[in-house]
Symmetry: C2
Subunit: 235 residues, 2 copies
Amino acid sequence: ELAELTAEQFQHGALAGKRVFITAGPTREPLDPVRYISNHSSGKMGYALAEAAIDAGASVKLISGPVTLAPPARAECVQVETAEQMLAASMDGIDSCDLFIAAAAVADYRPVAIAEHKIKKGSEEIMELRLVKNPDIVATVAGLATSRPFTVGFAAETRDVIGYARSKLARKQLDLIVANDVSNPEIGFNSDDNAVTLVSAQEEINLAQASKRQLARQLIEQIALYISRNDSSTT
Amino acid sequence: ELAELTAEQFQHGALAGKRVFITAGPTREPLDPVRYISNHSSGKMGYALAEAAIDAGASVKLISGPVTLAPPARAECVQVETAEQMLAASMDGIDSCDLFIAAAAVADYRPVAIAEHKIKKGSEEIMELRLVKNPDIVATVAGLATSRPFTVGFAAETRDVIGYARSKLARKQLDLIVANDVSNPEIGFNSDDNAVTLVSAQEEINLAQASKRQLARQLIEQIALYISRNDSSTT
């Protein structure tokens, strides 16, 4: 009965009628047909946010790098590999997007050139790999001149977590940033738990360690609150 | 009844009483606490070989990089991340090893230095990454002066597959090499199927496209045949 009550609450939920794009997981940047650079993102936080947003009444497009999670049944899912593919999928239909949550751990750099064939190990003890900066997806979305969605970023850091998050918030013109200490293995990339701080220009909201599922619901509630304040201040 | 018959055959199987080490999956070489270089190996071939070797009566140690497969129940499993860890796990107890099968896709190179903290994206458009050659695990084992096991390597190639495999066989002093064309997506790293050529100094045996499980059984049979010829020629 509690479950039904909750479901009903969410039908008239905090994000009812909103179009939400969520990026999740890592990206993979190929060096050649077999090798790549990636990171330890499991996608759990992004997938949990997609579920929570759907439960809150949103229509969700989940743009996901390679992960081993089953896609949420009620979300539109777009599978991508590279940062460039993730950017293209994010910009596709961005005009209709009300809320953009960038939970993916996008590779900052990719190899300059992708070898067509597998690179043969030579006799060289040392190899130099040239990397070029990837497009900054969340900054691209947050910097849109027209029909810019409410934009939420993530900052996965190993030190000075709030400091780095706050400077990223300002530099990328985000509305909110979710700061995440990934140096703690209990709440890291592959963990089921997380503990985060939701940072806005004015305040910080600490969300204590909980399952990523529970945290995702709290985050969606808080984000929806900010959006409703935004909507009422602009109308 | 057929299954029982097969199980009984394998109790007095082709590798009865043999100690077998099998490496499987990719390795991950960290750049910093969150980023790494890896490759598309799924571990399916190595895990299937472990199953087939157990069914053939062997006592198996499976040394596996990060994969999403469940470890075979009857194998001793050692989980590793990096090439250096895989080498250490391979050398541990190598004196008692009769057959070493290197099915892992070991990263050839690793970053020279691992950053203690997450590398911050700078303003640089281009980043140079210095990589150093990893230890060559299968060549180390095959080059052992005393109690060297029968050593089988893999060659995952995208062109001139047999040519590269044959030169690798000679250069690394392997007994056999399994040549694998990974440019064909039907039989590639993440596929359930494979098609390989078993290459020795004298001959080539083509094993047609089949499930990795079926191919693993054929490979184990062929490898056991070579070992028994070896044993009888040296006694």
